[in-house]
């Protein structure tokens, strides 16, 4: 399986991915071998089941949502490009990047893109707002069973109150960003 990996990833593709995501050559190759090892169907794409087979994700509270984040709207398969694109959000920011071309497109792993990723995890209906219900759902996922619904509701209310600035009882992306501004 290891030798397959490098031969099936063409050089042009590798270059494109490198440019788009900023990963290094060796990182891309390694991730490709990971991709192929996850791809049980050997058809070059990953389905949700392939992700679900990763045992650690089953015990991660946000596991399933994160899996969904890999799949573009309405699709059930993700190819290697898509896989890398999503992973690229989490590539550690290197120093030599900071001085790069300011006018160019924002690198995938910029802070704001990372936040956008997290925001999309909360915002299921894609209306660019985290409503109370959506927040409640996420809270419920992240919290143990010993907490009652009322308590959870009040936490959600308070969280929205803290963040909400335009008074619409929902958290928009700008409010979200402001909240997490360290």
């Amino acid at each position: 399986m290891g030798s397959r990996a490098s031969t099936l990833l063409r050089d042009e593709e590798l270059e494109e991915i490198k440019k788009e995501t900023g990963f290094s050559h060796s990182q891309i190759t390694r991730l490709y071998s990971r991709f192929t090892s996850l791809d049980k169907g050997e058809n070059g794409t990953l389905s949700r089941e392939d992700f679900q087979r990763i045992p650690e994700l089953a015990i991660n509270p946000l596991g399933d949502r994160i899996i969904n984040a890999f799949f573009p709207e309405g699709e059930d398969q993700v190819n290697f490009r898509g896989f890398m694109r999503t992973l690229a959000h989490f590539r550690p920011i290197e120093d030599n990047e900071k001085s790069k071309d300011v006018n160019g497109p924002e690198p995938l792993n910029s802070r704001s893109n990372k936040l956008h990723f997290a925001f999309r995890l909360y915002d299921l209906d894609k209306d660019d707002k985290i409503s109370r219900d959506e927040l409640l759902q996420v809270l419920r996922m992240m919290v143990g069973v010993n907490i009652s619904d009322e308590q959870l509701g009040s936490i959600a209310d308070r969280t929205i109150q803290e963040a909400d600035q335009d008074g619409d009882s929902a958290i928009s992306f700008t409010e979200f960003v402001k909240m997490d501004n360290h």
């Binding site: 089941e49 994700l57 969280t159």
Partner: protein, 810 residues
């Protein structure tokens, strides 16, 4: 603090015993004389005081008792043990006791002899480390570990020795009878990080798993280097400085490879033997645990006999035999082995530290040279730091998961020296190394410094660093929540990207293992059940399932996989959700890192003014308590003193069941259309009607499925000679169980039916041919229609109808 100790009578007895101990050797002498003198005339004596008769074992037993009582004593005060590491307390106790014995007897009669240490005290500890080693993590980081262990130790030894020599040449140390080789010898024995000390301290400081395994692995593997360097330099010293030739140096390098690889090989051979033996111990269950210990110990001694690295041998014996031994021996034996190993290791560690303290109180060995001592301390710290930084810089270019500054600090600071160095230095020959006493006293000082001072301060240091890196501001609810969410996201991304790489190697190994090793080493029934699982889960790629179980077992986090044995509290917890939140809150609060709690208190103070503040406080606290913790924070992989399942397993089970339930529901709603619930209910009923079955994975336990009381995984032909008592869980059936139930059923039946579940009769539920049907055929059919997964969903419809037709045989 003293007030909280209530040891009064205990300590009194202890002191009395010890004083008596001091007196006894003299009393013994006195006693014999009257006996001799009156022997002829006294005739038959009804009762005699035969101290001499029992002296040796008595003293040993007494010391063990003292050490254990001391442990009880320490834990009477929680405040003390949370600040001061146990090892430090034991050393101090040792000093006290040594002082008492010295005062009573005016000679130091007890000390830690190298023989006792190397033959009796060290093996259990190292075996314990090897047997409970998280294999996947270890081998995943093996490159890093080897780099630190080999290069790092050599670097430390060389630089320390040479620097000391340099300072000596400058005359700062005064007049000493040492040569370059002596310094290098000293450097080699003081350079090595000690596994005993490291573990003792790292247990108190909860670091992330990668860091832990690196330091831990390093401390174990550097034994080979230490042994080689020590032997090489010692023989050089014996030869005399002038007679050392280039050939000898080359021989030294060669011997490193021989020693390390040879030791590993010995360990692996014994692991093989051990696994083989346990395969046949079905009828001698009672002595099964004995084999584990005896064979492992033999591997240690054999390696020692062949002058190879004994620590490596017993470590690898433990590492390699884990899987097969656990598969072969019965559940009770496994528990016995675990507990006995922990007991021996813990006891040995206690005795070692105590005796380190006692041995220090020996006026004969002390020779103080200020410059030497201080410089040694300085050099080992500085050079370790430099070494770690350099190596980390190199490693970070090749690692996916980088080692950050805080990790490096912990690594530098956590490089403790311990009893191994002491034993090695005491082994030196005084005639060859003239300044042995200087070395001994310096070694003792270094050990005390690292264990006590560094052990005491490492925890606050880590917490300070973590706090420094995190926010100083008052964290809002949002920040806490989103911060935690981010942690979960990061864990997930790490898992998806397979941070522990080398999948190819691991696949190759598991293939090899399955084809050859397991056939030879694993009991037939365990194999069969494994093979059955292989067939049943074929479509799901069993190696995922097995490694999943192995992972769970390894981590202990999915311990509900194992057995209903007593150390498994998770099952009980799960079936009756605990109403008490008080307990949870205390333990959670204690577990949280200090920064969070502290900042929480800050928020409390600032907003004390209004009612709303009270509410805020409650909200903050509630959130704090109940948020699930991300993977990195809670994994304590290795614990010398603890075996019980903990809170984290509860978290894991909750999340797992919830996830599985959701997945199952989404499968079902996609596949079954209108009435998912009805069908699910029917499925439930049918399952309940079936008999409970033993299940399958090694040790007769299929992870989650076994907890499903009525579910069978087609094991009816499985000849499990030791039928385990599957636990009788409550009726609450979780989605996860159903999910796997469905998968297993479906793949076993493997009917060629389409999506909508026709009533095709079950074709030989347990027969392999059924299973061989191409999985992809079925997988591809649902693919276009929905996002649901291929096979499992068909399970509910198919077996349901055919179940009455082919009831499972018990």
């Amino acid at each position: 603090m003293l007030g909280r100790w209530a040891p009064g009578p205990g300590w009194g007895v202890l002191l009395a015993l010890l004083l008596a101990l001091g007196e006894l050797p003299r009393a013994r002498g006195v006693e014999e004389e009257p006996g001799d003198a009156h022997g002829g005339t006294q005739g038959f004596q009804v009762v005699t005081f035969k101290w001499h008769h029992v002296q040796d074992p008595y003293i040993i037993a007494l010391w063990i008792l003292v050490a254990s009582l001391a442990k009880i004593g320490f834990h009477l005060s929680h405040k003390v043990t949370s600040v001061v590491p146990e090892s430090a307390l034991l050393i101090v106790l040792g000093l006290l006791l040594g002082g008492i014995v010295l005062a009573a007897d005016h000679i130091a009669s007890f000390s830690l002899t190298p023989t006792v240490f190397f033959f009796y005290l060290l093996p259990p500890i190292v075996l314990d480390a090897g047997y409970f080693m998280p294999n996947r993590l270890f081998f995943g980081n093996l490159g890093t570990i080897l780099l630190y262990a080999v290069i790092g130790t050599v670097w430390n030894a060389a630089t320390t020795g040479l620097s000391l020599y340099g300072v000596f040449l400058s005359g700062l140390m005064g007049d000493l009878n040492i040569g370059l080789l002596d310094f290098l010898l000293f450097g080699s024995l003081i350079a090595a990080v000690d596994p005993v000390a490291v573990l003792a301290v790292f247990e108190e400081v909860h670091v992330n798993e990668v860091l832990f395994i690196i330091v831990f692995g390093e401390s174990l593997l550097n034994d080979a280097v230490t042994v080689v360097l020590y032997n090489v330099f010692e023989s050089f010293v014996t030869l005399g400085g002038d007679k050392v030739t280039g050939v000898d140096c080359v021989k030294g390098i060669v011997s490193f490879f021989v020693v390390s690889l040879g030791g590993t090989l010995v360990g692996i051979v014994f692991a093989f033997l051990l696994s083989l033996v346990t395969r046949f111990t079905k009828h001698v269950r009672i002595i099964e645990p004995g084999f584990v210990f005896v064979l492992s110990y033999l591997s240690y001694l054999t390696s020692e006999m062949l002058s190879l690295s004994a620590i490596l041998a017993i470590t690898f014996c433990g590492i390699c035999c884990q899987k097969y031994v656990k598969a072969n021996i019965s559940e009770q034996s496994a528990t016995t082995v675990r507990y006995t190993m922990k007991m021996l290791a813990s006891g040995a560690e206690t005795i070692i530290f105590m005796f380190l303290g006692i041995s220090a109180v020996d006026p004969l060995i002390w020779k103080w040279n200020t410059a030497f001592v201080l410089l040694t301390l300085l050099f080992i710290s500085v050079y370790r730091a430099i070494g770690v930084i350099l190596q980390t810089w190199i490693l970070n270019r090749y690692r996916m998961v980088q080692l950050e500054i805080i990790d490096q600090v912990v690594m530098c600071y956590g490089g403790l020296r311990g009893a191994v160095a002491y034993a090695l230095v005491v082994l030196l020959d005084e005639n060859k190394v003239k300044e042995k006493n200087l070395f001994v006293s310096t070694t003792i000082i270094v050990i005390f410094f690292t264990v006590i001072f560094q052990g005491l301060t490492i925890k606050p240091l880590v917490q300070w660093l973590k706090v420094k890196r995190s926010e100083q501001r008052d964290p809002k609810l949002n920040e806490k929540l989103h911060g935690r969410a981010f942690d979960h996201i990061l864990s997930a991304i790490e898992d998806i990207s397979g941070q522990i790489g080398h999948n190819y190697l691991r696949d190759k190994w598991s293939n090899f293992d399955r084809k050859f090793l397991s056939k030879i080493l694993m009991r037939r029934s365990a194999q069969k059940s494994r093979d059955r699982i292989l067939n049943v889960f074929h479509e799901l790629n069993l190696k995922d399932a097995i490694s999943y179980v192995a992972e769970g077992e390894r981590r202990g986090s999915l311990a509900f996989i194992r057995s209903p044995s007593t150390d498994n509290m998770v099952n009980v917890d799960f079936s009756t959700p605990r109403p008490s939140t008080v307990e949870a809150s205390v333990s959670y609060l204690l577990r949280e890192n200090v920064s969070a709690v502290r900042l929480d208190m800050q928020s409390l103070e600032q907003r004390r003014q209004s009612i709303r503040d009270a509410e805020d406080m409650i909200t903050h606290h509630t959130l704090q308590q109940y948020l699930y913790k991300p993977r990195q924070e809670y994994k304590h992989l290795y614990s010398r003193h603890g075996l019980t399942a903990d809170e984290d397993e509860k978290q894991d089970t909750e999340i797992f069941h919830r996830t599985m339930r959701k997945r199952l529901e989404s499968f079902k709603s996609a596949k079954l259309g209108i009435n998912p619930h009805k069908k699910a209910a029917k499925l439930l009923k049918r399952d309940r009607a079936q008999k409970r079955r033993n299940s399958s994975i090694p040790n007769g336990k299929l992870p989650i499925v076994s907890s499903l009381q009525d579910f069978t995984i087609k094991e009816k032909d499985l000849e499990l000679s030791d039928t385990e008592e599957a636990p009788n869980y409550d009726d609450e059936m979780s989605g996860g169980i159903e999910f796997l139930a469905n998968i297993a059923q479906d793949t076993a039946t493997d009917s060629p039916s389409g999506d909508t579940g026709s009533d095709a009769p079950l074709t030989g539920r347990s027969s392999p041919p059924a299973v061989e049907k191409p999985p992809r055929a079925r997988a591809s059919s649902p693919a276009p229609s929905s996002p649901a997964p291929p096979s499992p969903v068909q399970a509910p419809p198919t077996p349901r109808s055919s179940a009455p037709a082919a009831p499972p045989e018990p």
